[in-house]
Amino acid sequence: MKKQHPFPPKYFLRFFRWFCHPRMLDYIEGDLIEVYDRNFKKLGKRKADWKFILDVLLLFRPGIIRPRKPIPNLTTYGMYKSYFKIGWRTLIRNKEYALINIAGLALSVTCCILIFVLVKHHLSFDDFHQNKDRIYRVVTEQHRESVSYVNSVPSPLGLVLRENHTYGEKVARMFHDSNSVITFERNGEMQMIKEPDGFAFTEPEFFEIFDFPLVQGSIVTALNEPNSAILTERLAKKYFAEQNPIGQVITYDNQVSFTITGILKDLPITTDIRPEIFVSYSSLKEYNPWLASDNAWGGISSGMYCYTLLRAGVSPEEVEEALKPYVKQNRPESKNVHHYKLQPLSDIHLNGRYGGVLEMSDIGILIAIGIFLLLTACVNFVNLATAQALKRSKEVGVRKVLGSFRAQLFWQFIFETAIIATISILIAIAAAFALVPYVNDFFQTQIPVNFLSDGILVLFIVGLDVLVTLLAGCYPAFILTDFKPVAALKGKLSMQQLGGFNTRRSLIVMQFVISQVLIIGVIVIMNQMRFAKEADLGFDKESIVMVKLGTDSVNSMHVLKNEFLRLPGVNKVSLCYAAPASSDSWGNSIRFGNDSEEVNFRTNMKLADADYISTFDLELLIGRNITPADTVREMLVNEALLQHLGITNYEDAIGQVIYANGGSMKGPIVGVVRDFHDNSFHAGISPALIASASSMYSNYAIKINGNSVKETLEEIQQLWEEQYTGKMFEYSFVDEDIAQFYESEDTLLKGIQFFSFIAIFIGCLGLYGLISFMISQKTKEVGIRKVMGGGVAHIIWLFGQEFVRLILIAFLIAAPIGWWFMNQWLQDFEFKIKLDVWTFVLAAGSTLVIAAFTVGYQVLRVAYVNPVLSLKSE
């Protein structure tokens, strides 16, 4: 047939098809061919061709050329409308599935958003300074037997860095003292207030390094004169209300007075510079003459910071190298070798070693948790969608027969997923908005609540939407569009063809793995915390209150102690430097016996009077207690000290002389006490000695009779305030102080508990959806089995065995992962629990129980249903 038709010039025909308005294409093309045909017969091919070409060219005119805006656009829009409509109807028809999917996704996305906000908040610390890339803090590595890290430096270091070198464009020293008591006058009355964020003696260059603008006064002159101070607007308002703060006087610890010369704009939330009162550094000598002197190389006071803004092009390594000689020059004898390092500004917030709020790894954990949760929710979605695929096979078949391409169908299903994802995300945004205050409370952050105005976050949410849609939608869409239309329309598809039951199984296993790892984590952390808080510390910590000493003479100190002892609720009182385990500790290098050199380990100096042992119930292994004295006469040592010295027979130690604090404290050992935990369980027991030295006491340790704590405390306060008029009464309980050691672990525990709850919940949602689907598939089978004599237990096992098997497989994967992670976590502790079998049994058991509860109701219902009903169902 075709042979009869001569062909017109191909390219011109194609050109014509390309430019012609689609509405007219067929008619005109028909005309062209008809005319060509006729010409061909009449005039021959050559002429017919020419005429054809001429016709085509003459057709190329405005009325015939297709409009520039292509018509297909219109069609696509209509298609999307239809996708939306169909998607929405599917959603409404399967309310249960939709609810499970949306709930799961919304929950996990809420967590993701919150985690994102949190991570972003922590990463944004101190990034608003103009020269942030060149700002460094000088920190110290202390190399003794082991290396320890301090975020402060000897006070003269900043001076030499500025005076002797040109690396730093600016160098500023700051001495930050937290928890200071501020006295000021308001309306003619003296007020006293405790400022937890304290007070900072600051060199004026500090404000040239960092961008903290003043609202009143001049940054150049404000701190130049001694005894001047600047404070934030917030504090100025708090202290002086509406009065003009400039020129007012504040007094620090009743010791040094400062005149206010400037007001700072409130510090941003995202800075680790916490003090809100900055005073002239030159006044430091009034407060602590040793620290202010130019040769205070002997030790490092915490809070003594040095910041520097390096010149462009100077590398921190150069500076570190240049600082090396000062150690030899100024600390030739010391066994505590300092290495001064430059810590970049961006590292300060995220390096726990130097006192950062959290570690970079914590950020990683948070992100990992977010990804986990997102994955579990997507897994649910994939599971339910593929399980439901059978229901939609007819639709797919019909669409394919009517000419849908696979790609079009694919995008249809993706579009449906997008509807669900978007609904979930909208819910999640609302939820996250409501939850931000709780997150702030929990993580002690100050993330602003109007976080939705943040462009990056909006971008993140949109990205999340796309990601979730693709993650959750791709696989089901792939499966659904894979149907052969004939098989689909005949209803010949079985579950096996639907992307394999195994895929779904492995997804369920993955969810169980995640929740079991989290459960193992929770159990181990809880056990370790209980161990740390309840273990025998080697001393008594119950109902002992530490009351701060008001600075006063030795005499009145003893008088007050005796008055306390007279109170009926007080059992024992000891004057001491600090409790056996305390975050305040004074370390010292000692010299032992006839050795000419100091030992190379740090000795914890527990300076206390003779009642220390009895108050804290320390056990004396050998020898006797020290006799009461006001200066160092005799010493008690712990076992660890002797072990470090290599003395195994404790009797040998008795009578040996110890020289401490450069020889100014010396005395013979008169007894050995049993080791007590002077640190958290993270660290080992350090060598310690107990000696009396009244000048160093700063606390009363008061053992209170457990029954009348409140009244006794009030009586103590009354006596204290009589003795120290005009001072603040401060106290804390020893057991609470010790609990504080584990604050970050507590936060971690709560966090993991929360997230494992969510992960389990999402997993359960998926499980619930899957079991209800399985049951609807197997209703008939159950009916037949029952008719044939299958009992309820048999039916339950029919469904149960599947889940039990999956959970056991998941457990086999989760156990080693959980073991590895928790073992890693426990390495942080010097004293730790053993990972025992029971932890894992408990984890597996609890997952089984949770799964049983989730699927139980549905399985029981189907097991008890009358077979007549289930067999009649079609």
């Binding site: 008619y27 005109i28 062209l32 061919i33 005319v35 045909d37 016709d55 003459l58 009325g63 015939i64």
Partner: protein
């Protein structure tokens, strides 16, 4: 009444559609014009005119059968609408009026000139 816009070529086309009555499709129109008026008609001009008149509402079209000689492409048949009829009527009337208004002498002088 100036709404009846009809160009010269358009007028010829619509009249031809009328002549062909029920068989008016593009190639037939083209052939008819070519044979009667001895002028060549390009496909482009014809289709443009047909489309424009359809837009104006003088013509309506319907799709015809697909035939072998057109390689399966359908024909598009045209038909005058009532409006189209009014339009050519109007065109003829205005011409006639103009004709009538020409003084007879013009013709005579012309004749005498021959």
């Amino acid at each position: 009444m100036k709404d009846y816009q009809l160009g010269e070529f358009e007028e010829i086309v619509i009249l031809t559609v009328g002549i062909l009555n029920n068989a008016a499709y593009s190639v037939a129109i083209k052939d008819e014009i070519e044979s009667r008026l001895k002028r060549t008609v390009s496909m482009g001009a014809l289709h443009t005119a047909l489309n424009r008149m359809e837009d104006k509402g003088y013509l309506k079209s319907f799709s015809g059968e697909a035939t072998e000689e057109r390689a399966g492409r359908p024909r598009r048949y045209f038909e005058m609408t009532a409006l189209g009829k009014k339009a050519i009527q109007y065109a003829k009337d205005t011409r006639d009026e103009l004709w009538a208004a020409i003084p007879k002498t013009i013709w005579q002088s012309n004749l005498s000139g021959i």
